[in-house]
């Protein structure tokens, strides 16, 4: 039995999966169990529901506990009308995955732009810019993402005839831009003040100093945090399924209502999300480690 040690006291500013860093055995173990469990289920469930396998299992049961219900199910299996919907769903998935990924990627890119603007605005000495940025961050962080999505898609979308994809990316980026604004601000302020002084003393302007000296160091500081935002955004992108966008979740919901059974599609989609976030959090942990190794 692996030794179960209490988690070290660490408060992470993220709602993503725990990061399986080195030397964090408990988290690593649970990360492995979750990942391989999910992958295993994704392989096992379609295989288990293949017609020959089902037939074998059902006839075994029917032999042990004969019942009219089992006999009817066996007959249906043998009739050739049986369809393995677990495989069917997996074949449908790529469309939803593509939508989920393109929404996530476009949103994270746009959110980075908003976030950088908000972060720079929050440290700006120009009062107006500073106010706009701080109020933006304050307001957006106080409104649930789902409400924002409804607002942009249904309320504003009606007014301006926004296309679903565009509305989705805009609302996600607007919301995540505010979170990332905080990350950028903290990252900029984490660069020692002497760096700015040295740059100014050499004759650089404030904006040159920020571009050439402060931001390159900020990026290194905030990369892991941005990675976490990426994971959180990937998950939250499921909220855009309320729009006319067929992302992973919406696809599962459609499939479920068409076939009158929500259990298989939602199970598969939940597992796929889980696998994606677990792999991404592992990548973020890798990146963090590499950054710490050559900490310059």
């Amino acid at each position: 039995m692996a030794e179960v040690r209490p988690l070290p006291v660490r408060i992470q500013v993220t709602d993503g999966a725990l990061i399986p860093g080195k030397g964090d055995k408990t988290v690593r173990a649970s990360w492995k169990i979750a990942l391989f469990g999910a992958l295993g289920l994704l392989v096992f469930l379609p295989l288990y529901n293949m017609a020959p396998v089902q037939e074998f299992v059902l006839s075994l049961w029917a032999g042990l506990f004969p019942s009219p219900d089992l006999t009817a199910r066996l007959a249906f299996l043998r009739s050739g009308k049986y369809q393995n919907i677990w495989v069917d769903i997996l074949l449908y998935l790529p469309d939803g995955l593509a939508v989920t990924f393109s929404v996530t990627l476009s949103s994270i890119l746009l959110a980075t732009v908003f976030g950088l603007a908000a972060g720079l605005g929050q440290i700006s000495r120009v009062v107006l810019l500073n106010r706009i940025a701080t109020v933006y961050v304050e307001v957006i962080r106080g409104i649930p993402l789902l409400v924002q999505i409804f607002y942009i898609y249904f309320a504003l979308g009606n007014l301006f005839h926004l296309d679903g994809f565009f509305a989705a990316v805009l609302s996600m980026a607007f919301c995540y831009g505010a979170y990332m604004g905080e990350i950028f601000r903290a990252g900029i302020q984490a660069v020692p003040v002497g760096q700015m002084e040295a740059a100014l003393a050499l004759g650089l302007s404030r904006s040159q100093a920020i571009r050439r000296i402060i931001l390159p160091q900020t990026v290194k500081i905030i990369l892991p945090a941005i990675g976490n935002e990426f994971i959180a955004l990937l998950k939250d992108s499921s909220m855009v399924s309320v729009m006319a966008l067929v992302d992973l979740l919406r696809l599962a919901k459609n499939y479920g209502s068409n076939h009158g059974d929500y259990f298989p599609p939602l199970t598969v989609v939940a597992l796929v999300y889980l696998v994606m976030t677990l792999i991404l959090s592992w990548l973020v942990a890798l990146m963090e480690e590499r950054l710490n190794q050559n900490a310059r």
Binding site: G194, Q195, L200, A201, L202, G203, R212, Q217, A295, R296
Partner: protein, 243 residues
């Protein structure tokens, strides 16, 4: 010697605290002036006011005919001609040694890369760090970092160099290598204003030593006079403390 740096009636308050009280002094062209005094005496604030990293509450500072404290002046252009070396080096950690030296000449003076690199290589040779040109700052010792910082400031070809306790963050065995570079600068006729606790450097290089306490200049004199025959009681007390 014509005045290169002229400070007239400089005062600075941080809230209740008066860091500088009506300080006037000057540094002649080619002169080395060392400012000494206990911590909190305002000597660093005074030095940082010379390139306006610290904005004075009142008073005026000129560098040649440039009015540093006037908001009408182009402070960036003035800063190009004022080199500054900090206690904590403040090298740019994401740039190599060579890039640290080349940044301001290419970015501010718009010199070509080749030109800036040639100059940077020359300056590194001058501070004895030719072999470190491709190193990262974190790979250098404290003394090496400070010598790179001096070379970085010299790359802008300043007419004044400000040193803010340049050896205070160094291990004792590294102090000399930095002071030697500063001594060379002084002998070559660079104008230096140095805040330091290194009395050895003051004796060897300074034309004048200024003793400050509680935001005021208490006494000014040649190193020989000030160190051997201090007039003021506070100067005597301070010197007795550190010598």
């Amino acid at each position: 010697m014509p005045d290169r740096v002229r400070i007239e009636g400089a005062s600075k308050s941080f809230g209740e605290l008066q860091a500088l009280k009506n300080v006037s002094m000057s540094v002649g062209a080619g002169e080395t002036v060392v400012v000494i005094g206990p911590s909190g005496s305002g000597k660093s604030t005074l030095l940082r006011a010379v390139n306006r990293l610290e904005v004075l509450t009142s008073g005026d500072i000129w560098i040649d005919e440039d009015h540093v404290t006037s908001h009408a002046s182009d402070i960036r252009r003035i800063r190009e001609e004022v080199g500054m070396v900090f206690q904590n080096f403040n090298l740019f950690p994401h740039l190599t040694v060579l890039q640290n030296l080349m940044l301001a000449p290419t970015c501010v003076k718009k010199r070509s890369k080749a030109d800036a690199e040639k100059q940077a290589v020359g300056l590194l040779a001058r501070v004895g760090l030719s072999e470190k040109k491709d190193a990262w700052p974190e790979q250098l010792s404290g003394g090496q970092k400070q010598r790179v910082a001096i070379a970085r400031a010299l790359a802008m070809e300043p007419k004044v160099m400000l040193f803010d306790e340049p050896t205070s963050a160094l291990d004792p065995e590294m102090v000399k290598e930095v002071l030697d570079v500063m001594l060379d600068l002084a002998r070559e006729g660079m104008t230096l204003m140095v805040v330091t606790h290194e009395m050895g450097f003051a004796k060897a290089a300074a034309h004048r030593v200024i003793f400050m306490d509680q935001g005021e200049i208490i006494e000014t004199g040649s190193p020989a006079d000030l160190f051997e025959r201090p007039q003021n009681e506070r100067t005597k007390k301070f010197l007795a403390h550190i010598l």
